[in-house]
C-alpha cells in the first residue's frame, strides 16, 4: 500500500476549493434566503402580534365605551324615571287640589243656589201667604181688620221697657198705620186703648196702609210697635229662613 502524496495534496486542495465553492454558491445563498424568509415571517408574526395587541386594546376601549354608554343610559333612565315620578306626583297633587277646589267651589255654588232657591221659595211662600191671607180677609167683614188687633198692640206697648214707652209721643208726632181707614168709632176705641197703655194721651197721625193686610202699626221716632199680619208673615219668613 502506497500513498501518492501529489494526489493527496491535490485532493486536499480540491476539497478545500469545493468547500469554498459550495459555501459561496450553495450554503451561503440558501441559508441567507432561509434566514430572510424566517425574518420576514418573524416580522409578520411581530406585526400580527402588534395588530392583535392593538385590536385587543381597541376592543377594550370599545368595551369601556360601551360600558360607559350603558352606564350613562342607565343614569339617564333613572333620572328620567325620577323626574317622571316627581312630575306625576306633582300632577296628581295638582289634580287633587284642583278637584278639591272644584268640588268646594261647586258645593259652595250648590249651597248658594240652594239658599237662593230657599229664599225665593220663602219669598214666594210669603207672597202666597199674604195673597191667601188677603183673599181670606177679603171674604171676612171689615170690622175684624183693625179693631181686634188693638188689644195686641197695647199688649206690645205694655211689654216695652218703661223708658222706651215713656218716650213715645214726646219726641215728635206718632203715626198710626192701619190696614184700612178707621171709622170714627174705631178711632175712638183705639185712642182710648193707647191712652190706657201709655198712661196719657198722645197726638196721632192716622195713615191707611193696605200692605199691612190686617192690623195696625204704631210708628214713633224712638220705637215702632207692630201688630199686623204683614209683620207676622215677615217674621215667619225670617224664622223659616233662619231655620233652614
Amino acid at each position: 500500500m502506497t500513498i501518492d502524496w501529489w494526489t493527496l495534496g491535490l485532493q486536499t486542495v480540491n476539497a478545500l476549493v469545493l468547500i469554498w465553492l459550495l459555501g459561496r454558491y450553495l450554503f451561503g445563498p440558501v441559508s441567507a434566503i432561509i434566514a430572510e424568509r424566517r425574518a420576514a415571517a418573524q416580522a409578520d408574526l411581530d406585526k400580527a402580534a402588534a395588530e392583535l395587541e392593538a385590536a385587543r386594546a381597541a376592543h377594550s376601549a370599545a368595551e369601556a365605551t360601551r360600558d360607559d354608554v350603558a352606564r350613562q343610559r342607565a343614569d339617564m333612565l333613572a333620572a328620567a324615571q325620577t323626574e317622571a315620578d316627581a312630575e306625576r306626583t306633582r300632577l296628581l297633587a295638582a289634580a287633587a287640589d284642583e278637584a278639591a277646589e272644584t268640588r268646594a267651589r261647586t258645593q259652595s255654588q250648590i249651597a248658594q243656589m240652594q239658599q237662593t232657591a230657599r229664599a225665593e221659595i220663602s219669598a214666594e211662600a210669603a207672597k202666597l201667604a199674604a195673597n191667601i191671607a188677603r183673599k181670606a180677609l177679603a171674604r171676612l167683614p171689615d170690622d175684624i181688620l183693625v179693631a181686634p188687633f188693638a188689644d195686641g198692640l197695647t199688649d206690645a206697648i205694655a211689654a216695652l221697657p218703661e223708658l222706651a214707652r215713656d218716650r213715645i209721643g214726646q219726641d215728635g208726632p206718632v203715626t198710626l198705620r192701619t190696614a184700612r181707614a178707621l171709622t170714627a168709632a174705631e178711632e175712638t176705641l183705639i185712642r182710648q186703648a193707647l191712652s190706657r197703655a201709655l198712661g196719657r194721651d198722645i197726638a196721632l197721625t192716622l195713615l191707611a196702609d193696605a200692605s199691612l193686610i190686617a192690623g195696625l202699626e204704631l210708628d214713633a221716632p224712638t220705637a215702632t210697635v207692630r201688630n199686623h199680619l204683614a209683620a207676622d208673615l215677615t217674621r215667619i219668613e225670617a224664622e223659616l229662613a233662619a231655620h233652614d
Partner: protein, 232 residues
C-alpha cells in the same frame, strides 16, 4: 481491475502526476459548483421545487449540526455540508459506467480526514484559545495527555479507513461479480452500494461534526434553532 491501493497517474502536468480520482474530483467540483450557482441564481421567498429541495437539505444539515453540537450551525455549515455532499456524490458517482468513485482511493479519504483534523484543531483554538484547546488534552487528568493525542490521530485514521474500506470494498465486490457473473447481476449490489454510500457520507459528516463539537466544547443552541416553547 487495478489494485485499489495503488493510484496510477493518467498524465502529468509538469512534475505533477494527475490520477483518475483527481480528474473525477474536478468533474464533481465542476458539476456541484455550476449546479449550485445555477440553483441559487434566482432564489426567492416563494421557492421553486429545486429551491425547496436545497432549503430542505440545508435545513437538515443545520438541524444535524445543532443537535450534535448544540451551537449555531452557521460557522460549520459550509464545511460539514460540503463534506457530506461531496462524499455522497463521490460515492454515487460509481453508478456512471467507467467511473471509479474518488472515495475508493485512499488519498481522497485522507484529504477529507486531514481537512477535518485541521478544522477540528482550528475551531478548537478559535473557540477556546490555544491554551484552552491544549488544556483539553489534559482532561480529565494530565495522565490522559498521551492517550488524548493518540485519540486525535487514531480517530482521524478511523475516518479514513472506514470510508475507504466501505467504498473500496463495494467497488471491488461489484467489479469481481461483474467479471464473473455478467451484466445485470451486480445491479442489486449497486443498489446496496447506493445505500452504503449514503450511510457512509452521513457517518463521515456526523463524525466530523462530533469531532469538531468536542473540540469547541459545550455550547448554546442557536437562537434560530431553539424550539419555541409556545409551539410545543
Amino acid at each position: 481491475m487495478d489494485n485499489p491501493l495503488i493510484t496510477e497517474p493518467l498524465f502529468h502536468i509538469g512534475p505533477v502526476p494527475i490520477a483518475e480520482p483527481v480528474l473525477v474530483n474536478w468533474a464533481l467540483m465542476a458539476v456541484l459548483g455550476l449546479g449550485s450557482a445555477l440553483l441559487t441564481r434566482r432564489l426567492s421567498r416563494t421557492p421553486s421545487t429545486a429551491q425547496t429541495v436545497a432549503e430542505l437539505f440545508v435545513s437538515t444539515i443545520d438541524g444535524q449540526i445543532s443537535d450534535t453540537m448544540n451551537r449555531d450551525p452557521a460557522p460549520y455549515r459550509g464545511l460539514i455540508g460540503s463534506i457530506f455532499l461531496f462524499v455522497l456524490v463521490a460515492n454515487w458517482s460509481s453508478l456512471i459506467p467507467g467511473i471509479e468513485p474518488p472515495t475508493a482511493h485512499l488519498e481522497t479519504d485522507a484529504a477529507l480526514a486531514l481537512i477535518v483534523f485541521v478544522a477540528t484543531v482550528l475551531y478548537g483554538i478559535k473557540n477556546k484559545g490555544l491554551r484552552g484547546y491544549l488544556a483539553t488534552f489534559a482532561e480529565p487528568s494530565w495522565v490522559m495527555i498521551p492517550l488524548n493525542i493518540v485519540e486525535q490521530i487514531t480517530r482521524t485514521f478511523s475516518l479514513i479507513v472506514r470510508l475507504f474500506g466501505n467504498v473500496m470494498s463495494g467497488v471491488f465486490v461489484i467489479g469481481i461479480v461483474l467479471s464473473l457473473a455478467g451484466l445485470f447481476l451486480p445491479i442489486p449490489l449497486m443498489a446496496l452500494d447506493l445505500l452504503t454510500g449514503a450511510v457512509q457520507a452521513y457517518i463521515f459528516a456526523v463524525l466530523a461534526t462530533v469531532f469538531i463539537g468536542s473540540a469547541v466544547g459545550e455550547g448554546h443552541a442557536a437562537p434560530s434553532m431553539q424550539k419555541d416553547p409556545s409551539h410545543g
